[in-house]
Symmetry: C2
Subunit: 294 residues, 2 copies
């Protein structure tokens, strides 16, 4: 078993994802112009979650003001087609992403969600919200970075707990998209499979593991939040999964900052898990091939 407190373990990180994780707060493009309200935000490819989070402070589509289009790749004309540009034709259109001819360049990256969101918060006058997010993420970073030993580092501990297991992300409704965002981050950094339950999750917990209780990979249920639903989930899952992992609530103000903290924590845990498996936590090489193919 590799040791996350030993320097040689970090040699697998050839592309230096640890630096991107460490320096995430404050990274990404900043607005070079003023954008008129009202604001609309739609997102494709890796921009999907940032666009969903932006529902907190912006519309989806707007026919006046400014329409931001997060072109996170792999949309196969989704952004260009479907009548999108026609329906927002009265608005100034600002495209962000890594496609040709975007107005704001956001390179493809497993942590791009933060950078899209930061640009949107700055462009729409949400500086106070961004400050709350950044403060909370910096607090998380102080606990999660490689210099903090296993005994005090919840992300390292989580990585060991997830080794050889398949996580199931159990997320309250008040964090829309978080479960799928964790699934995506865990795959892109941790290079591993995880899943989210469908809506009406309790029925899923009761039935989905019945036919083959001892099937395949042992499941680690990762429980987020502490509402009533979560305590039911815990009670049902205790006897049905291999292990329960509880993510304590972050020290953060507001739903948006909390959602980003959970995501950041799982990004660090995924990073450590990749190191434990001895695989590259960055994903530039393999995804560059995909981008060129599509």
């Amino acid at each position: 078993m590799r040791d996350l407190d030993a320097q040689e373990t970090y040699l697998a990180d050839r592309l230096g994802l640890a630096f991107d994780l460490r320096d995430l707060v404050g990274s990404g493009p900043i607005p070079q112009a003023r954008y008129a309200p009202p604001y609309g935000v739609v997102g494709f490819g890796e921009g999907w979650w940032a666009a969903q989070l932006a529902r907190d402070f912006a519309l989806e589509l707007t026919a006046t003001g400014t329409q931001f289009v997060l072109e996170g790749g792999y949309d196969f004309g989704g952004a260009a087609g479907a009548g999108l540009y026609a329906s927002v034709s009265g608005a100034e259109i600002v495209r962000l992403g890594f496609r040709e001819n975007v107005e704001v360049e956001v390179p493809a990256h497993p942590l791009a969600t933060y950078r899209y969101l930061r640009f949107l918060l700055l462009a729409t006058g949400q500086q106070a919200e961004l400050a709350r997010i950044d403060r909370a993420l910096l607090l998380e970073r102080d606990r999660l970075r490689p210099e903090v030993g296993l005994s005090k580092n919840p992300a390292k501990f989580m990585a060991y707990s997830l080794l050889e297991r398949t996580p199931m992300w159990v997320v309250p409704d008040r964090y829309p998209g978080l479960g799928q965002a964790l699934q995506q981050t865990f795959s892109r950094i941790g290079k591993s499979l995880s899943f989210t339950p469908p809506p009406s999750a309790l029925e899923f917990f009761v039935t989905a593991l019945e036919a083959r209780h001892e099937q395949g990979d042992p499941i680690a249920a990762v429980l987020i939040g502490d509402d009533e639903r979560r305590s039911y989930a815990q009670e049902i899952l205790e006897s049905r999964v291999d292990t329960l992992i509880e993510l304590p609530e972050p020290e953060a103000e507001g739903t948006l900052a909390k959602a980003l903290c959970y995501w950041y924590r799982v990004a660090w845990a995924s990073y450590y898990l990749a190191l434990l498996y001895g695989v590259e936590p960055g994903d530039w090489e393999v995804l560059d091939n995909l981008r060129q193919a599509t």
Copy 2:
């Protein structure tokens, strides 16, 4: 291995789910009153997908006309709280489901989606759409029911293909919610685990199986539709999963009818899979306990 063409295999179906599957078309409550437009539909618990499908012909919330609230259980006050009833206070509120004091009773059932949707279509003057759906489902039924032998029955064939494998539902964007609906149906009837990829699925396919290629359960990717994205998915997945299962497009007019056909087909396949595992395909007993606990 149990034989799906042998009568004794069907003894595991003690609760008679085969009859509910066979007699699905035309089942469920019908409107006893006239409802004024505009129409709003929200759904909780097992009503979530029917409410999402209703976006095709109804609003989510309306402050005038009629607001339908699908109370499919397990919402822990979600339907009652969150300001929902305040925000629709100018509309007539019609509650459907199996909670006390609902206006329209829809018993809890793994196939309840159809019944919620049928009621909504009838109540909002969408008889033609319902006729398209029913026609298509009856065509499916003729191919999928137990009397049709394995060699001509795609649902039986699919059940054998899914045995001891974990399905991943690969669904085009034009069928919102279908992937999670299949995940839910597969668990409630087939009593087995399956998952859906997150948005930005191609990156997930490339990365999620990298660290542990030979991990746990072999995955069966179930591919729906035939757009460009699907052919990329197929190319990427071919070398990464245990088997690919293609679901051919149903003979149905319109997205709604097609979505329901895919769901019905997977419901039948889940039914046959439960029989192959020798478990009860119905879920009344176990979920009754859950309902009483919550």
